[in-house]
Subunit: 670 residues, 2 copies
């Protein structure tokens, strides 16, 4: 009976005896239990709530009496009266342990709560944001011992939170004095303590600030800019928004933007201004949508390819347009968002750009590596992020390789005769009857197939995943041969095939005023793109010394919509069992979110990127060999045994010595 | 004969044997001899020049043969051909030691050369600026091992100079790539490595940059802003310039500027803008005067009083206008000059503000402490920096005390009936014949006394040092009594005394259209100022437990012009032997220069300021007592034995129960 009370925290299961009279918060700190507190035990923030579990706990071998915790004291009673405490909850900083007790720490009381990252894979992010709130009581100024308000604030932060000293930017030195006085020298600080560098004061509020801190995870693509607004306390995504990258007016793809900068002195400055303004607008929009004060946005994590990386930072990307593709800086960049002209966020907010892997493999690829963690897997994974360029990662616990392959924009529906961006009305799925060659399709915006009597939707074109399916179905139905040549109406036996100069086109859809067809040029464009993709993957496999991979992960928006079987029929990706091809969704965006919510992940990805072995496709002679061999559908030499198990491809040939005899060369694109 | 050659460096006297074939630069580095090099031994910067001393050296016990150093190699010959090497000089990085040799390191080849600070005291500053030049050869980019240009630059800096990694601000990331390529990956870096914080890249030039780096030492006063442009290599002051503080239009003295801010919302922002614009203009002017490119100015050290400190940093000084006179920050501030809107300097230049001692004792007083080093003296020194406020330091090796005393602007000629700023035409020296009461004086702009037949200069008023001398002479001549009362013409016996309401005035100078006189109000204004000064000094002496000091140092421009004897007759300063009163000139400005040229001095003054014991005159009851007692000329109770040895003051009294009976109170000024 004289033993100290036993305290057991759930869900951690941590248990220890503590002297009677210890507060729950003090016990949790001593035992290393993750129990939050912003006010530092003053009974005002309520972050340290726990739920005592009264009754018998056979599992833990204890029985918890009603009086295992002390009764409400004045502080707790006042809090309940003013703010209301949920039934069964206690303030951990006030309740004292009097007897054996089991205490449940609800998720919202955990600092490092786990956030379910995405339903598909159910991976979790451990909350540990760089910017957090700290309530401090600062000594009032004393003429006998004159010291600045900042110096006394730092003393308080050290004594009460073992943190700092913080550096205060000039705008906060200006704000410091009135806020301290308004709060009666009790203030809440937002402190940014990244994985490296000094602690920085980001903002200060009188008294206890309770409106939350927010961060932006931004995926800055060549075509679109997407942002998630995240609650830095809960990790929740409060709003997501995107807009077109306004740099498109300077050039559709990255290489044309680099050219624009080369041809137009100051062109890079124009492009920098454009993308910064767009990002600033996006931040304002997303804050408005989530009804969050823009000044409460204190961090932005940005992932992007190397050209966007340089243009955002105000660096002329000209070196990225020519060998040896030198980056100005490859390490992660930490700076003030104000330096990037992001004026709508908190004026002292911080930006973090993930490191670039190489001149062609950017911070977006690093973010994919952070999200997908190939280096932590037993299986050898090939991760393909398909955009205007494909970033390819190959690896397992033994190491990770990376390259970038210039697929061009065909996979995005560009350079395709009836191609369009993935938007309402675009064909995104195609089926062709192998016997009749009849076509049915689905369009974005409708769930019905086109042969459904109820189908009634304007068909406007074909998007990237639609053209992949169309080509794969055409190959399966014997409409195009292994060399990619489209047969004639006579050879194939369908009037959907029409002569088109010296080649043929296949009509998917036709009305009085619109014909959507697949032309020979379309097939060639996709062949170039897929050859580049496959050759990049093969190059990494060569480097690794393997002939096959265990799994393929398709990342990027395109990866989310592509049909793995059709991709494999076209030989876009190496041969693996179909169930080993998965989509990772917007893995780059997810990587940005991880880096936003967990500062340790920044150190981790910086380390990881240093260890990634980079392969430069542009200077590798084997790339050209692989590229040529990959031109066939699915491939000239690789056997694709897994594909043969699930699809039989007719052994047709339409070559009559014409167009197909020509070899094509292509301009390298980045 | 088989022994390694003996090498002796002068003036250090360091000696050691080194293997034959060692270069002079390598030997110097190994032996810890201070031999400069910017290019790191590549034979292009010529900073490592030495002068071999051929012949017999009895003192060192060696004879140096003609062939003690290797002959010129191709690098040295090319340097001489292109740039010319002074006779007798060799490039230390090329010349190899072949036999016993005595090598003189001329001052310009020393990194840490000593700079004579000022002729008067002949103290020296050891050159060790925070920003220095480094020539590096950076690896060219390699596609096989992709890394950013910055990362390779940092690798070179580490390997070739054991420095860094440096942080590069975004404008330099932009500049990095073109400059590296222009220089063939051989570049000169300006790196700022302060006494704390990370190393920062300040600028980069292709090839070897030889135009020098410069810094500004700025004394930002309430009335004037003075700047010295210093060569960060030699320490030489290339130009000095000053301008009026444009904040004067918001208020003559500091308190009225604080009031302006209190009364006018946004007033502090106006004042911040005004002072920043003026400093920026001053920087441009001084660079133009010295024919130095403004972008070559990479540092600014600023000293100022607390109100100017806050206004420069963009902090509302309102708290400094009321007890407890809390500073927003008291520690030293290091920031980008761009943050202070100093746009004419190098865009990445750094600013350093010395720490403030207390809410009334600013970075200017800290600079005086750095320059005068009272804490390193055996003698107990009283250092008085007289401006609108007087900052007073008292100390020796056992400790230093500081306070600020509200002298008001009378010492600067303000609030004086014929007062004016120290400018041409102002009376700055006065002599009165004790018998005849005849007056002679000197004016600024002329070396002649007014009784010289050749004297012919327009007399416009009387400046601060002039009014001190006038009053002291009037006291010595029996024209005013110990209580400060001016006698009548009858009492004193001179028609230079005129009735002036119920008091009298003494005429120094009179023409048809101008009368320059000393009125009773003038005497009262000076009495108030000198009482405040003396009371502050006494308060520190009380705190220290002493009745007298060993020496008095008068700092500030006023201190440079004041006559110690006259100051002592008025009882401005405690009684010491006259030869123990010295002028330190603009000690605050000198402190700024020291901090600019020697980074270790920044750490030193930050430490020193923390140890200084601050005394707040505003809340100290004894201050008022001392103030009242100090009203008399020289003093009501203190005996002033040293003064009595050199001056006899007539024991007159003109009190007839009139004006002098009233006690005056004064509004506290900061």
């Amino acid at each position: 009976m004289s033993e100290d009370p036993l305290v057991i925290f759930t869900p951690s299961g941590k248990r220890a005896r503590v002297p009677a009279g210890t507060t729950v918060l003090a016990a949790a700190r001593r035992m290393g239990v993750d129990l939050d507190s912003v006010c530092g035990g003053r009974g005002i923030c309520s972050k340290c709530q726990v739920a005592p579990q009264i009754g018998q706990h056979t599992k833990h071998g204890v029985t918890v009496q009603d009086d295992a915790l002390s009764g409400w004291n004045a502080v707790e009673a006042r809090y309940d009266e003013k703010r209301g405490l949920k039934p069964g909850r206690r303030l951990g900083c006030q309740a004292e342990i009097c007897g054996d007790v089991v205490l449940d720490v609800p998720p919202e009381s955990q600092v490092h709560r786990q956030v379910i990252r995405k339903a598909a894979t159910a991976r979790e992010i451990r909350m540990d944001p760089a910017t957090r709130l700290y309530f401090v009581e600062v000594d009032e100024p004393d003429m006998q011992e004159p010291s600045g308000d900042l110096e006394r604030l730092n003393r308080a932060l050290k004594a009460q939170w073992d943190l700092g000293p913080v550096e205060a930017p000039l705008p906060l030195l200006r704000k410091l004095q009135p806020v301290l006085r308004k709060g009666g020298f009790r203030v809440t600080l937002a402190v940014h303590q990244a994985h490296r560098g000094p602690a920085r004061l980001i903002d200060i509020w009188p008294g206890l600030y309770e409106s939350g801190l927010y961060g932006l995870a931004i995926d800055l693509g060549s075509t679109t800019i997407a942002a998630h607004l995240c609650d830095l306390d809960t990790g929740a995504v409060l709003a997501s928004a995107g807009l077109m990258n306004p740099q498109i007016r300077f050039g559709e793809d990255l290489m044309s933007r680099v050219s624009y900068s080369m041809m137009n002195p100051g062109g890079d400055i124009e492009m920098t201004r454009a993308v910064r303004e767009a990002m600033d607008q996006l931040a304002a929009d997303i804050a408005a949508e989530a009804r969050v004060a823009p000044a409460a946005i204190v961090e932005a994590v940005i992932v992007c390819n190397p050209v966007m990386h340089h243009l955002l930072l105000g660096i002329d990307p000209v070196e990225l347009g020519q060998a040896p593709f030198a980056l100005s800086t490859s390490d992660a960049v930490e700076c003030a968002t104000a330096e990037l002209d992001l004026t709508r966020l908190n004026p002292c907010a911080r930006a973090y750009l993930l490191p670039c892997i190489a001149g062609h493999v950017g911070a977006d690829a690093a973010a994919v590596a952070l999200s997908e963690e190939p280096g932590k897997q037993d299986e050898l994974s090939l991760i393909v992020d398909v955009g205007t360029n494909a970033e390819i990662l190959l690896g397992d616990r033994n190491g990770v390789l990376a390259c970038s392959s210039p697929t061009g924009p065909a996979f995005e529906g560009a350079q395709i005769s009836s191609g369009q961006r993935a938007a309402n009305g675009a064909i995104d799925a195609v089926r062709i009857d192998p016997d009749t060659k009849d076509v049915r399709f689905r369009v974005i915006g409708s769930d019905l197939w086109s042969d459904d009597p109820a189908f009634d939707f304007e068909v406007t074109g074909i998007c990237g995943s639609g053209i992949i399916e169309a080509l794969a179905e055409m190959r399966s139905a014997g409409i195009i041969d292994a060399s990619g040549l489209i047969g004639s109406a006579e050879q194939v036996g369908t009037d959907r095939l029409r002569a088109d100069n010296r080649t043929h086109q296949f009509v998917l859809y036709e009305t009085a005023d619109r014909t959507i067809s697949v032309t020979q040029n379309d097939v060639r464009a996709i062949q170039l793109a897929k050859s580049a993709l496959y050759a990049g993957a093969r190059l990494l496999m060569d480097e690794r010394g393997v002939d096959k991979v265990d799994r393929v992960v398709l990342a990027g928006a395109f990866g989310a919509h592509i049909s793995p079987k059709h991709a494999m029929i076209l030989g876009m990706i190496p041969d693996v069992p179909l169930d080993k091809v998965t989509s990772a969704g917007n893995a780059a965006g997810t990587g940005a979110r991880i880096a936003l919510l967990n500062r340790a992940s920044r150190a981790e990805i910086e380390q990881t990127v240093r260890r990634i072995h980079k392969v430069e496709t542009a200077i590798e002679p084997r790339f050209q060999e692989h590229f040529v061999a990959a031109n066939a559908l699915p491939h000239a030499t690789d056997p694709f045994p897994e594909l043969r198990k699930i699809a039989s491809l007719p052994d047709v040939s339409f070559n009559t010595g014409g167009e197909d005899g020509r070899q094509r060369r292509r301009r390298r694109k980045i």
